[in-house]
Symmetry: C2
Amino acid sequence: MRKIGIPEIEDIALGASLLGAGGGGDPYVGKLVAIGAVRECGEVTMLDPEEVPDDALVVPIAMMGAPTILGEKAVGAGEYQSIYKTVSSFYGKPIFALMPIEAGGVNSMLPIAAAARLGLPLVDVDGMGRAFPELQMVTFTIGGGSATPMALVDEKGNSCIFNTITNKWTEDLARAVTMACGGSVSVSLFAMEGAFMKKYGVRGIVTRSQMLGSAIRRVKESEAGTPEEKFLEITEGFRLFKGKITDVLREVRGAFNFGKVVLDGIGEDKGRSACVTFQNENLTAEVDGEILATVPDLICLVDTETFTPIPTDALKYGKRVLVVGLKCFPLWRTPEGLELVGPRYFGVDTDYIPLEERCKGGRK
Amino acid sequence: MRKIGIPEIEDIALGASLLGAGGGGDPYVGKLVAIGAVRECGEVTMLDPEEVPDDALVVPIAMMGAPTILGEKAVGAGEYQSIYKTVSSFYGKPIFALMPIEAGGVNSMLPIAAAARLGLPLVDVDGMGRAFPELQMVTFTIGGGSATPMALVDEKGNSCIFNTITNKWTEDLARAVTMACGGSVSVSLFAMEGAFMKKYGVRGIVTRSQMLGSAIRRVKESEAGTPEEKFLEITEGFRLFKGKITDVLREVRGAFNFGKVVLDGIGEDKGRSACVTFQNENLTAEVDGEILATVPDLICLVDTETFTPIPTDALKYGKRVLVVGLKCFPLWRTPEGLELVGPRYFGVDTDYIPLEERCKGGRK
């Protein structure tokens, strides 16, 4: 058990935006919402998963819709009260603690805001260990968990609860209501008991985000080696490419941002070229035609000078970026995991080969 | 208390499709669903509103979406079980009885099917005394009733409950989910206690539909007067026009069928022309440029030979129709009623003048 205040939020936001792997929304907006709530209602208590009783109700909190719209509408103080009321009256018992469902600039932050406003603890766990574009893409789906009953509330005071036959139907129905509510809503989904959370959750993810954020901030203070070496060391990252963005192709299809970014090598990668594809989050990284990493491993683009993670919607011509691969949560590498979030699910015609094998013998 | 079996269903469907005033869906499809349920599960008990205890939970059942899609998907046997479970667990008490929310070819029938399948009684009451296109257009809105908590279920097993700040928001959110579920779903809305139902409901509407249906079926057996005279007598209808359809203009906007039908007079109306506008239901009837009837009074087009009501989507060039006006439920003629369903709400630039005054001194 420890406290999360404003300095911790700064670090968690930065680290989580690296784990967002290009998606997960703008950490600036998320941070403002969390800091605002903590300033108004006090620090948040964070629990280790082991501190949660097996039969306690643990509820993930997230936003659904476009983070850019969240930036305009923000989150009303009443939204989380409304979620609390809806969920606890559905289950007929109080909510014991909240948790994030994914790591990313926005969805790592909103559960902190909700915990502050409701005076509830936050659990150091999530269901992805990174960000993914669709709501069924969580470790809890592998455990047979259901996204529903899912509560959805908007800033105006409208709310609903879904009960669906599959998590894909939850996605479809909740997406339709999200659009009707103006494109950004607060949701709680995959409500679960403590025992299930401990079995399938990605433990320690909030702490990991915070450590990463704090280390990225201090990467230039390093005494041994270059900042880049230091960055790769602290993130346990695989260096995939360093280049200048020469082209960004974007396409919005079915409420997702699809696209690819083309890079010309710089420094030791001069003369080579690379390409990173994405669907909200980065899906594949290819250098000179050879795939070096695919989803569900994390492909992260960071600024070559500041090592700040760059979300896909901030990719721009001329930006110099380091492309780094991070190993995903082990459960994603099982057959059940790959069925949910493997390259073929995203229409990428290649088998999944772990990042570290693809890079073996390469130019680490 | 009396029983509703297959002969009663036949009459109710025919009479209700007259009260649908051009809307309310195809009575053939509705009838098939109701007859199928009664054949499988037995006759339905119908209660007079006075037989319902003041604190009993009474739940209207309806379909939302396009009746043409209902004709393709039909209604699964499990849908009403799912509505029952959702609603009764939300209120924490059993449902005492079901009721229709509007009179029309489809929504008069589905509550009978639901009552048969759930073994619950049906109350002889509704919230319109006719059909209207939007869900907030019920007498219960005037009484301050809320459409929510509204339950929505589809034939696949998905369900949700809405709680919204206004009945207009219910319309918007439920409409979005209806589309995502394929365009036709079963809903329960405006759940209420017996006392409220007795105060604001349109009493005896099922019985009235049945009487009208039975009388229309026997209109040609009349001995005194022409069948047309007999039809006007039994419906207490005002004869507005008789003509041949020369033009039908249709436009689908925001999930509603808008349009108008143009008529050339025949018989005693030869040489005159008329025009009927509609938004799902008929809105205005004009003869030689003079408005003879507007919403909320009922404007019904029936076949000149069989006196079968013709829904707006069955209007065709060359069809010979009698245009008849029926007085609406008195509550619709109050200022509160006209605010909800008066001509100006539908964008018709005229004050509401009761049908019988507009026709006074005319060619009744």
